[in-house]
Amino acid sequence: MSRFLIVDTLADISSFRESLTRSEAGGFCSFEGWVRHTNDGRSVSGIEYVAFIPLAMSEGQAILDETQARFDITTSLAMHRTGYLEVGDIAVWIGVAAPHRDAAFRACRYVIDEIKKRVPIWKREHYVDGCVEWVACHQDAESGHVPNRMDESPETRV
């Protein structure tokens, strides 16, 4: 069963967490990405996430498999939302259970970092002023060059 889930409705994170409980695990680290109310000083009303679903699922699962091989963890699960999310909604959830806390923290961090680098999901921010923009690349269509901010992805914000 895939442990990387792409979900288009409000996610029940209690059940995700519950599914990771193991009697051999002593530490559990989770990370959530929430929709913030501002980006670069502009008021955000919501964010729309679009995924290339088959590749996002296989790449997400590959990340979790790498994580299992690389860190001394018991189990892990990740969920990414698609669709329109409002401020405060959960865009991404990651949970890692491990015998010891160091592996739990480092593995959880690895999963979110890799998701942001590799999983084909894109977000479009809806601003209170009515503008709608693809986050990482909206400057390109206008200027024809690749801005630094794409490299650093400050807009991904978490």
Binding site: G33, Y49, V50, A51, F52, P54, L55, A56, S58, E59, H80, A91, V92, I112, I115, K116, K117, R118, V119, P120, I121, W122, K123, R124, W134, V135, A136, C137, H138, D140, A141, S143, G144, H145, V146, M150, S153, E155, T156, V158
Partner: protein
Amino acid sequence: MPHIELEYFAQLGDVAGRRAETRETVAGTAAALYDELRKDYGFALPSERMRVAVNAVFRPWDQELHDGDHVVFIPPVSGG
């Protein structure tokens, strides 16, 4: 000529004005096909900033294309 199934995500969809198309093309590789699309639609992103997936698997730019292949050009991702 081979027929290629294309899907467009994020700003590529906006610029192309469509989410998907079936395209007849003589482009023999993913790289050649992206060059063709840049000319047709004016995509700003150079291939160095992109990745390409053929039949939902990441592939190198010199991947050969065959009739019926499903191709997605992947602009920088912004999930999370």
